[in-house]
């Protein structure tokens, strides 16, 4: 009857561990927390919840485990921080003074690059023409390239206006670098918006067609859902 499962067949050992994990219960939450702890500690880059779930055994709830972990590390020497929709472990900022040794000399950003970065962060999604309008000067290719290369900005959707210009938005790396959970946490964002300084206001005499205004409506949406 079982003659076909001859002992010399290589089916045996591997056949045993055919993953049918759905048969097993997910590990207890404390164990899941440990797993998230290990994964986040091991990675320099923020890890998405989806990635956590993919790496943990079947049935684990990475989102919940990371919340437990975040609580556990409150007030400690390292923190569990949220970056966009990802999570990372970072040293507490008040302990930066201990780390001179680890500090890496970062390339000094030019004033133009810093301003361009700020404009993109606060006005995103924003076109090159709009950046130039705000700064009153041409944005050099090198400036944008540098920010793209640093992965602090990336291309966003195209504008649905004539010429369909590309827009720029900031990335998760940007948020990670500046310790921001979302672009909404940008310093002073609310005040700037309240003062109307984030509106794109066309110069008088140049009427902006309705559909272009609509675009701006979309733009504010990005931050509006606070």
């Amino acid at each position: 009857m079982t003659a076909d499962t001859a002992p010399d067949t290589p089916q045996g050992q591997d056949g045993a561990e055919t993953p049918r994990e759905s048969l097993f219960e997910a590990p207890p939450m404390a164990e899941q927390e440990r797993m998230v702890e290990a994964i986040l500690f091991a990675s320099t880059e923020p890890v998405t919840v989806a990635d956590l779930n993919a790496r943990m055994p079947h049935g684990c709830d990475g989102a919940q485990a990371v919340q437990h972990l975040r609580k556990r590390y409150e007030g400690r020497g390292v923190h569990v921080v949220k970056v966009g929709d990802s999570w990372a472990v970072r040293t507490a900022p008040d302990l930066g003074f201990l780390m001179q040794k680890e500090t890496v000399e970062t390339r000094k950003l030019s004033r133009a690059a810093i301003e361009t970065l700020a404009i993109i962060a606060y006005h995103q999604p924003v076109t090159r023409a709009e950046i130039e309008e705000i700064r009153g000067v041409t944005v050099s290719r090198g400036t944008v390239d540098q920010l793209l290369e640093m992965e602090w900005i990336r291309f966003g959707r195209r504008r649905m206006t004539p010429g369909r210009p590309v827009t720029f938005v900031v990335t998760n790396s940007f948020l990670d670098h500046f310790g921001l959970e979302t672009p909404r946490d940008l310093p002073g964002l609310k005040d700037l918006r309240a003062a109307g300084l984030l509106e794109s206001r066309p110069p008088p005499g140049r009427e902006v067609p309705e559909d272009e205004r609509d675009e701006d409506g979309d733009q504010t949406d990005m931050f509006e859902d606070e």
């Binding site: 500690f41 780390m99 890496v104 970065l117 700020a118 921001l180 310093p187 700037l192």
Partner: protein
């Protein structure tokens, strides 16, 4: 120096004049006319919202004038701005002409003020951003990230339909198949000749062709056809060699063979 006179006429302080001179020297350092205007507006020592655009326009025009006298080449956009500010100045000074189209001097001035305020706001925002705790300076990620081993597992998919289609393909269409002989079901003429040569010596009387066929080839229709054809072809060959006689009484009647006894061939 006449340019000095120009400034004196405008009744500006020594400090302002020095600042303006510094601006000229530093013209390369400005990031465009708006940047220059923003810097000039600081000399007014008022809130950006209450800056006098008229005065600013005059300051700017004086700057450009001075630069020209010093034979400093200004980029085109500085000159475009100068022209625009001269126009703005005239609009602000002259009573509005109702017949004239376009925005009023006040509207234009308000927009310029907005642009300056916005640029300043963005500069402040940039400064606040850069003053934040930064990764690699104030906070740090793991010094020795553990290597995440990437295990690539390839699974192959195939459905029962794929399997059936593959099999059907093999069993039916041969268009892509190089020619090979299905030896199982083919009895070659060579085999038939060998077989018949062994038998022919005993065939003194007429015997049906089928009796010359090897046993075990009649069960399968394909094999039966093959062996029949091969045996018949072999008998023709033997007849040609003069070793065999063939006869058939009528169409579709059994074919009969016998040894041809002209000479003892043994």
């Amino acid at each position: 120096m006449d340019e000095k006179d120009l400034f004196e006429e405008d009744d500006i302080s020594v400090a302002e004049r020095l600042a303006a001179e510094a601006l000229i020297v530093d013209v390369e350092g400005f990031e465009g006319p708006l940047d220059l205007l923003l810097t000039l507006s600081r000399t007014q020592k008022v809130d950006l919202r209450r800056v006098s655009i008229l005065k600013l326009a005059e300051q700017y025009l004086a700057f450009v004038e001075r630069a020209k006298k010093l034979r400093i080449e200004l980029a085109a956009d500085y000159l475009v701005m100068a022209a625009w500010l001269a126009f703005l100045k005239s609009r602000l000074l002259l009573p509005p002409d109702p017949s004239e189209e376009g925005p009023s001097g006040e509207e234009l001035a308000a927009h310029l003020a907005f642009q300056l305020e916005r640029l300043q706001a963005m500069r402040d925002a940039a400064a606040r951003l850069m003053a934040r705790d930064q990764k690699g300076r104030d906070f740090f990620s793991r010094g020795v990230p553990e290597q995440v081993e990437r295990v690539r597992k390839v699974t192959y998919s195939a459905t029962l339909l794929d399997l059936m289609q593959a099999y059907a393909r093999i069993r039916t269409k041969d268009e892509f198949r190089p020619f090979v002989l299905d030896r199982d079901n083919v009895f070659t003429m060579e085999q038939a000749l060998d077989h018949m040569r062994g038998m022919i010596g005993f065939a003194g009387s007429w015997m049906e062709l089928s009796s010359y066929m090897p046993t075990g080839w009649d069960a399968h229709p394909m094999r039966r056809r093959s062996v029949t054809a091969a045996t018949f072809a072999a008998s023709l060959e033997l007849a040609k060699e003069g070793k065999l006689e063939i006869r058939q009484s009528e169409t579709f009647a059994p074919i009969e063979l016998r040894r041809r006894d002209t000479r003892d061939d043994r």
